[in-house]
């Protein structure tokens, strides 16, 4: 009876612990941060730069740049990128202050220094006097110029990303990536040690840039915790159910069964049983050497292994 009560109490305690574990597990699961993170920064320049050191922050990740229209990205030796960037306004992604925020710095190209003195050679070749040979009347063959059509603006495109932009060569660029409105670049596709320079093909401002990150969350303990909590709650439920069941008939049957194990069928003591010997006071059997010798001679005289026909004196009593 005491054992059953003890088990039931233990089960109830286990159930309470299980409930606590489940609460902890579920709360931890609900507040668990996602593993895939995207850090973002707004951009207001037409060029975004990722230095090679910063790209090591996201192995296997992805850099995205958003804008309007065609976007093109290049890789270059850092020294070449620096030289090229010296003449443009750009945004450099520099840090990761928070999991979801990119730190940037805007770099403006140096403004041309104003010349303190006007050039003295500006008007040296100016000759305002019209030539006497010039006809004073407009030529009848004069016709409206048809060559005023502006030359098509050359810009990098999906088909040819290495077209010179604004007269600046693309010889320093090594790899090229192109996209429309958004350009996604796998970080691993950017050769190590190279700077990534992303720009809009038409010189308009880009709108933002992202880099995807993988956050390694230490959450291996949550699932086992939930399982253990569930198991313990189950044990507690069983104990709770048992608490509400009247076990006295079963206990009585159990006790009578135990008693029957201790007594004979009719409650009598069997002759020769240990109980009868204990009742007779011979709780501990005594062994006497004389008895042993007698029993030995008895055995020699008429033991069950002795052949009575061998000496003719044997007698079974």
């Amino acid at each position: 009876m005491e054992i059953l009560v003890s088990l039931r109490t233990t089960g109830l305690i286990a159930g309470v612990i299980g409930v606590v574990l489940l609460i902890v597990g579920f709360v931890a699961d609900s507040v668990r941060p996602p593993e895939d993170v995207v850090a973002h920064a707004d951009v207001a320049t037409s060029v975004v730069v990722y230095e090679p050191d910063f790209l090591t922050i996201s192995p296997g990740g992805q850099v995205s740049v958003e804008g309007n229209g065609e976007i093109v990205a290049y890789t270059a030796r850092p020294v070449d990128a620096v030289a090229w960037l010296a003449d443009v306004n750009y945004t450099e992604v520099t840090s990761l202050p928070d999991w979801e925020v990119l730190g940037t710095r805007d770099v403006a190209k140096p403004s041309p220094s104003a010349s303190p003195e006007p050039s003295s050679s500006a008007s040296a070749s100016a000759s305002p006097s019209p030539s006497k040979k010039a006809s004073s009347s407009p030529s009848s063959s004069a016709s409206p110029s048809v060559s005023a059509t502006p030359a098509p603006v050359m810009a990098p495109s999906l088909n040819d990303p290495f077209v010179a932009m604004e007269g600046r060569t693309t010889d320093q660029w090594r790899d090229a990536y192109t996209g429309t409105d958004q350009l996604d670049i796998a970080v691993d596709s950017v050769p190590a040690g190279l700077t990534l320079v992303v720009m809009s093909a038409d010189g308009t401002a880009l709108t933002g840039t992202d880099i995807s990150l993988t956050r390694v969350v230490n959450d291996d303990w949550i699932t086992p915790l939930l399982w253990w909590g569930a198991i313990l709650v189950l044990v507690g439920l069983i104990a709770l159910v048992v608490l509400f069941i009247d076990l006295r008939p079963a206990q009585a049957r159990g006790e009578s069964w135990m008693a029957s194990r201790s007594l004979g069928r009719k409650g009598d003591i069997k002759d020769g049983s240990r109980r009868s010997r204990r009742a007779a006071g011979a709780a501990i059997p005594t062994a006497s050497l004389d008895d042993a010798q007698e029993s030995s001679s008895d055995a020699l005289d008429g033991g069950p292994d002795h052949d009575p026909g061998s000496d003719g004196t044997g007698d079974r009593s």
Binding site: V20, I23, R77, D80, A83, W84, T169, D171, L213, N218
Partner: protein
């Protein structure tokens, strides 16, 4: 009830603490250096070459340098213009064949400008030696431009160069190899050309057909001028700004030096006659004096310090671009 509240609060506290154990934001490390430290990769130099020869092919087709706007410039454009003029003459020579296929490309590892890139073409024909083409990029905004070319001197071999992955160090002409500078080597060679084969400097350079040809022409023209009581005068001037040098793998150097030459023949009581093939180059009226202007290109190998080899010309070109009665403009 109070116990339940304590348990729940404890659970939230534990969960909050555990959730706070998420890792800190990663910190950028140091990136490994680029695999290709040369200024241009094979892909980059391939783009430059293909665009160059496409532009050149368009110009050759039109027989005009109007299309040589981006990838061909400098002396190469001037020489090509002269070749188109000569080609226009009756039985005029065709322009030099510049193969687009390269058997080697030398690139610089330099991080500053100007930068140089050199291509060694395949052999255009069995009678013509490979062409050494020199591209130059003046700054980060301007494209690599084919500025010069020179056919290899028969029998010459180019030294081993650093591979395209690391590139060759670009040397200033005042760089020293042993106890002499590259500038001194070039100055001595030009002085040898001016002085002639009797110069003491003749023994300090390996034999080459380029200067032998110049000396032979000088002898012929001097004799021609003397027959008409005239004289022959030539000048040789380096182009310092357009000269470059790359370090070779053995510690020597390869110098790429444009040279300006003029050859002037004047006669008395006679008339100078210009060969038909050169007639399109005449600028002005030639009577008793004709001055040829040449754009030359010399590729000189300077062996490393301690070597028993002599510096020598491995490739050279001698192109007339203009003939006038009064010399260079």
């Amino acid at each position: 009830m109070k116990r339940i509240a304590v348990v729940v609060a404890s659970a939230f506290g534990v969960a909050a603490i555990l959730a706070g154990c998420t890792p800190a934001v990663p910190v950028a490390g140091a990136a490994s250096p680029p695999e290709v430290t040369a200024a241009t990769t094979t892909d980059q130099s391939g783009r430059i070459q293909s665009e160059t020869f496409a532009e050149l092919a368009a110009a050759d087709g039109a027989k005009s340098t109007d299309d040589l706007t981006v990838r061909v410039g400098g002396d190469a454009k001037v020489i090509r213009a002269a070749e188109y003029k000569q080609e226009s003459a009756k039985k005029g020579p065709a322009p030099d064949v510049l193969p687009a296929d390269m058997q080697a490309v030398y690139v610089t590892s330099d991080e500053t400008w100007p930068r140089v890139m050199v291509g060694i073409s395949t052999q255009p024909s069995k009678d013509t030696t490979p062409v050494v083409s020199v591209w130059v990029q003046d700054d980060v905004d301007t494209p690599y431009q084919l500025r010069n070319w020179a056919h290899m001197v028969p029998g010459a071999t180019l030294p081993a160069m650093p591979g395209p992955t690391v590139g060759a160090e670009q040397l200033a002409l005042d760089s020293s190899i042993g106890d002499t500078t590259l500038q001194t080597v070039m100055d001595n060679y030009l002085e040898l050309i001016r002085t002639g084969k009797k110069s003491d400097l003749n023994a300090t350079f390996a034999e080459d057909s380029y200067r032998n040809q110049l000396f032979a022409n000088r002898d012929v023209l001097t004799k021609v001028a003397k027959t008409a009581d005239g004289k022959y005068v030539d000048t040789v001037q380096p182009v310092q700004d357009g000269s470059y040098a790359l370090a070779t793998a053995d510690g020597g150097a390869l110098i790429f030096a444009p040279v300006r030459q003029t050859s002037s023949v004047s006669v008395k009581d006679a008339k100078v006659t210009i060969p038909p093939a050169d007639a399109p180059l005449v600028d002005g009226k030639i009577v008793d004096k004709a001055t040829y202007e040449y754009r030359d290109m010399i590729v000189m190998y300077v062996p490393p310090a301690g070597s028993t080899d002599l510096p020598g010309v491995v490739a050279a070109e001698h192109h007339a671009i203009r003939i006038s009665p009064d010399g260079a403009k």
